[in-house]
């Protein structure tokens, strides 16, 4: 076992990279929930869709085409979902929502199989981000650093939008109390629509970013769903802070758990989740008191 600093730096970077990927997924899910009280179990399927679209586009026009267009395509699917299903499900209870989106998981899983087949796809890392960078005494893949940087940039952008802009204020008001927000003259429906689409786009972006790192398989959406849900439940639904904290906790527990206690690694995270729910049933940083 290695005990030198480089080893732990490397692992910390791994943890951070995983956290950022999860953050991209969970932020959309958590803000949609906070604002609309809507639980979208199909969020993972949107991530898989993003990866597939990116893989297809990359084959035609290279990585960057997939990177920029996959989120747009997934947001497009989000628009269809919103106008076809989600808008009508808004007033239903959490169970109905869970079930409709559970049905969506089934449907989308088979649709990706029909369109793209069962074989795993993959994308090459673009030349610009290929290779490794040396710093802090370690060599780390450039592409992974890119994911970390992208995650941090999106955290900063969202923090700015939510904290400093008018639309951010509207979203915060909506999360706080949507009836009140409507009274204040905010077009709540339109706000929901925009937030839902942005959430979908971020899921698509996460898929596009993950595709060169992992393999693109039909069940990748199902695989990522549970970690994403854990992140937002630990963090507390509806808040940026919660999504950041939850992602970091998951990323670090998972990574260092794998190194220090490999036998316990996967049970550890569930135990942590159970502990959080016992002590703080609404998560660490819920949007509402």
């Amino acid at each position: 076992m290695a005990n030198d600093l480089g080893f732990w730096t490397l692992q910390a970077l791994n943890a951070l990279q995983l956290s950022m990927l999860l953050f991209l997924l969970s932020i959309g899910l958590t803000v949609i929930f906070g604002l609309m009280h809507f639980v979208n179990l199909a969020h993972g399927s949107l991530y898989a869709l993003g990866a597939y679209v990116a893989a297809s586009l990359a084959a035609v026009g290279g990585f960057w085409m997939g990177f920029f267009l996959a989120p747009v395509a997934v947001a497009g699917v989000g628009i269809l979902l919103y106008s076809g299903l989600i808008r009508r499900m808004r007033k239903s209870g959490p169970m109905a929502q869970v079930l409709v989106t559970f049905g969506l998981i089934f449907a989308m899983l088979d649709l990706t199989r029909i369109f793209w087949g069962d074989l795993a796809l993959a994308i090459e890392v673009p030349a610009l981000l290929d290779g490794r960078l040396s710093f802090l005494g370690v060599e780390y893949p450039t592409y992974r650093l890119f994911i970390i940087a992208l995650g941090l940039a999106i955290i900063a952008a969202l923090a700015f939008v939510l904290g400093r802009t008018q639309i951010g204020a509207m979203i915060r008001a909506g999360v706080d109390n949507d009836a009140m927000a409507a009274c204040l003259g905010i077009n709540v429906e339109r706000l929901f629509f925009v937030v839902f689409c942005v959430g979908c786009a971020l899921a698509g972006l996460a898929g596009a970013v993950a595709a060169p790192l992992l393999s693109v398989t039909p069940d990748m959406g199902l695989q990522i769903l549970i970690p994403t849900l854990i992140v937002i439940v630990i963090g507390g639904l509806g808040s940026l802070k919660g999504a950041v904290a939850g992602s970091l906790i998951f990323g670090f527990v998972q990574t260092f758990g794998a190194v220090l206690a490999p036998q316990l690694a996967s049970v550890l995270i569930y135990a942590l989740l159970a502990a959080v729910l016992v002590i703080k049933p609404v998560g660490l940083f819920p949007a509402k008191g």
Binding site: F33, H37, V39, L85, R88, M89, S92, G93, P94, M95, A96, V98, L99, V100, F102, G103, L104, I105, F106, A107, M108, L109, D110, L111, R113, I114, L222, I226, L229, I230, V233, L237, Q263, S266, V267, Y270, A271, L273, A274, L277, V278, P281, V282
Partner: protein
């Protein structure tokens, strides 16, 4: 609060008759399907008890069934315990596990309850999947069925086993009705309708929730012990969260909080699944679309829809008929 209406009795009788008919006439695959339906029906019965009458929408009932199945498998194959004792043991173990989950999650509501139960289910799944003692991904085989030869039943025969499962389901249904009609069940209804008030009246709400969740877990555990005997093999997939999701789908498809509806739903779901998977490998797509359509229709599932449409009329007619009949009988006596 649970009530048996004439419509519900009628459907129950029809279901039982259909199951018996199938059990005596079907061929092997038909018996396999029947047994699958009966075991799923038992699981969704347990789920409807907590979700439909206590508002506790659990996403860990599949895992609880898996716990029951693994408990039975471990007790019989590794500990060498006799099947009847092992069945009782697996029911008790699952009940205890469910009680703990219920107690811990009692404070959570709505989506948090769903997520919390999901977390516990996944915890069990991960543990079973990774601990070598449970056989890991490859599962455990060589599981014996109950020996009922002393009463002339050879359970290794598919037909006898299907009948045995039907009997067990009948017992579980009876137990569920009794639980829902007991003081505990009444209080559970009260909690679902108004938890705050029940607490203000002096009820220890978490205890009631945990107790009922434990009882529901016992039924799920029984379903698991039967599933293990049916397949004579257990694998971690039994505990996966999609099994819980499917159980919830069946409850909704059939009609939440009607007990009879989920039984109808179980039959419909299994038959649909088999018919579709024979036609296309993409049957998940069809099931997904049907599910979305049912939930979007806002009806309370198949049975809920029937009840809303015809329930009151049938009940009234039956009531009228019985009223008319009584004087008639007196006359014939005279």
């Amino acid at each position: 609060m649970f009530r048996h209406t004439p419509l519900r009795y009628g459907v129950l009788v029809l279901l039982a008759a259909a199951a018996l008919f199938q059990a005596f006439t079907a061929e092997y695959f038909g018996l396999e399907i029947l047994t699958e339906i009966l075991i799923l029906a038992m699981l969704v019965l347990a789920l409807d008890m907590v979700a439909g009458f206590g508002g506790m929408v659990s996403l860990c009932h599949g895992a609880l069934m898996g716990v029951g199945a693994y408990a039975y498998a471990m007790l019989t194959t590794k500990a060498g315990i006799a099947p009847p004792v092992a069945m009782a043991g697996s029911v008790a173990i699952t009940g205890a596990a469910a009680w703990v989950i219920g107690a811990v999650c009692a404070r959570s509501h709505g989506i948090y309850f769903i997520m919390a139960t999901l977390a516990f289910g996944q915890m069990a799944y991960s543990w079973v999947f990774e601990a070598p003692v449970f056989g890991g991904d490859d599962g455990l085989g060589g599981i014996a069925r109950l020996d009922l030869t002393m009463i002339g039943l050879d359970l290794t025969d598919s037909r006898s086993f299907a009948l045995f499962c039907l009997f067990a389901l009948g017992a579980a249904y009876g137990a569920t009705v009794l639980i829902l009609r007991s003081g505990l069940g009444r209080s559970l209804s009260g909690i679902m309708h108004n938890e705050q008030r029940m607490r203000a009246l002096g009820l220890t709400v978490w205890r009631v929730k945990a107790d009922v969740f434990g009882l529901s877990g016992m039924i799920a555990g029984l379903a698991g012990a039967l599933a293990a005997q049916h397949i004579m093999f257990v694998s971690p997939g039994l505990l996966g969260w999609t099994v819980s999701g499917e159980a919830l789908v069946v409850v909704i498809l059939g009609g939440l909080g009607t007990l009879v509806g989920p039984l109808v739903g179980a039959a419909a779901f299994v038959v649909l699944k088999h018919e579709l998977s024979a036609v296309t490998p993409y049957w998940h797509l069809v099931v997904g679309v049907i599910l979305i359509a049912v939930v979007m229709s806002r009806a309370n599932g198949i049975f809920g829809w029937v009840e809303a449409r015809w329930g009151a009329r049938i009940d009234r007619r039956v009531a009228d008929a019985t009223r008319k009949q009584q004087p008639g009988e007196v006359v014939s006596d005279a």
